[in-house]
Symmetry: C2
Subunit: 279 residues, 2 copies
């Protein structure tokens, strides 16, 4: 479980750092980023918000563009951003931006050639938190959030692991991937034809099939060009009603799919998580 620091930068009196490690789940070298607020010390461990990014992203997009650090530092929340897939020359890939490297969809692949490395679900749920809690002044109290493909990842991981997280939030999540082009393409390649397996990675299907106890906050811009074809927040709202899940979906007028949208509301998401992380 050794990690190597690749960069560090002071920000708002706190620290942003990037580390590399050999992932057991993914069977390749991986980089992640961590924001450590000033409150984080060996005697005062802070909770962690895991952030899952969208298609084509790495650990850097959120950290460079979201503008989250002033509020995260004020609230004393660490933020960990993994990469969005396994990486490297020996890792299967595809010419499309929506399959292969940069497009891991936070699932455990079962199909060749993907299954050898594409185990992002295990990486995010198990390996990465163990690594973080062993190496940094953080507690095991955590929440999870993400954007687009990462919003899908955050919602499905939280619903499937309700004892591990306190809360979940998403920007523009792929809410019903079994019924949109991005999801159908990815799930067909990574998981094959078994639709029962797909359901474990579909937030709308999960909410329709069993109770979800954690609070969920979702922001969706109504000027998002992916809204109708790919994201389908209505399916999430309808599914949440089946078992009375605590979903707050906010349609944000005029906002698109970009980090300009995320930067506008990330402070509110951090305060939402803080209520549960500090409870």
């Amino acid at each position: 479980m050794s990690i190597t620091c690749e960069s560090e930068a002071k920000v708002f009196g706190a620290w942003h750092k990037q580390f590399r490690h050999q992932s057991q789940s993914l069977n390749c070298s991986m980089r992640f980023a961590i924001f450590l607020p000033q409150k984080a010390t060996s005697s005062d461990k802070v909770p962690v918000l895991y952030w899952l990014s969208g298609l084509t992203c790495s650990d850097e997009n959120f950290m460079q563009k979201a503008g989250a650090f002033a509020v995260a530092n004020e609230l004393g929340i660490a933020i960990v951003a993994p990469d969005t897939s396994p990486r490297g020359e020996g890792v299967a890939d595809d010419d499309g931006y929506d399959l292969g490297q940069g497009a891991g969809f936070y699932l455990n692949a079962t199909q060749a050639p993907w299954q050898a490395h594409y185990q992002m679900y295990d990486y995010v749920v198990n390996e990465l938190p163990q690594l973080i809690e062993a190496n940094f002044p953080v507690s095991s109290v955590k929440s999870i959030a993400g954007h687009s493909m990462g919003g899908h990842g955050a919602l499905t991981i939280a619903i499937n692991n309700q004892n591990q997280y306190r809360s979940v939030s998403a920007f523009s999540p792929i809410a019903n991937p079994s019924n949109c082009p991005w999801g159908v393409k990815a799930f067909s390649h990574y998981l094959g034809d078994d639709k029962a397996l797909w359901a474990k990675y579909d937030a709308a299907e999960l909410l329709a099939s069993a109770p979800m106890a954690l609070p969920m906050l979702v922001d969706q811009g109504d000027a998002d060009s992916f809204l109708e074809e790919q994201l389908k927040p209505k399916a999430l709202v309808e599914a949440a009603q089946v078992h009375g899940a605590k979903l707050q979906l906010r349609m944000q007028p005029g906002y698109d799919h970009s980090y300009y949208f995320i930067s506008t509301f990330i402070g509110e998401h951090l305060r939402f998580h803080h209520r549960y992380l500090s409870a």
Copy 2:
């Protein structure tokens, strides 16, 4: 003076937009970005802060990474970010990151092959403000700021045009380019051997040679890897004393050359400029 919108995104209730136009000064097609706060309407024109970026940057780096929009919107300040050089297939270039496209140094080149397009000083001082004031709900009240090469640009342009700007600020500026490798390389190529011409584009030399009436705020990280060899803030402080210029240089402990540093203090820079823009 026609401009074409290439993107727009709502952010903090306001707007970030990118436009393309044919530049007369630069003799090529150029893109710039503008942040328009909610206060900007045809009946309520707002002042403008011009932001000049550093080596390798475009109009996008500051807009995506600085986290400036919440405070700029609160204060009612528009922000305009030009590109850092002329661009395009017909524009002279160099393999180095510190010469040619992405490295215009905000000067008017006199030497071949650069002089045909590299007239960034005229572009920033004259053409761009005319274009902005003709096309957007902004007043002619303006200040200027920048980072690294753009900090050099902001300081020299403000000192040379004290009637046009209200205030100037810089992060990690190249303060004495005639005496550092980046500056000597660029000035030699763009301006030739005439050191008298170099002096017009050297903030430290300008401050030593004549009074500067505008308030200047400079932030410099003491963990900046370019500090000793390239940036030379001490030369700026010493030069400012010659004619009693109003320079506040803040050495910021632990900060590096990155946008993490800029994002930490950009709010203070905006409030600094607001005092003079609203006076």
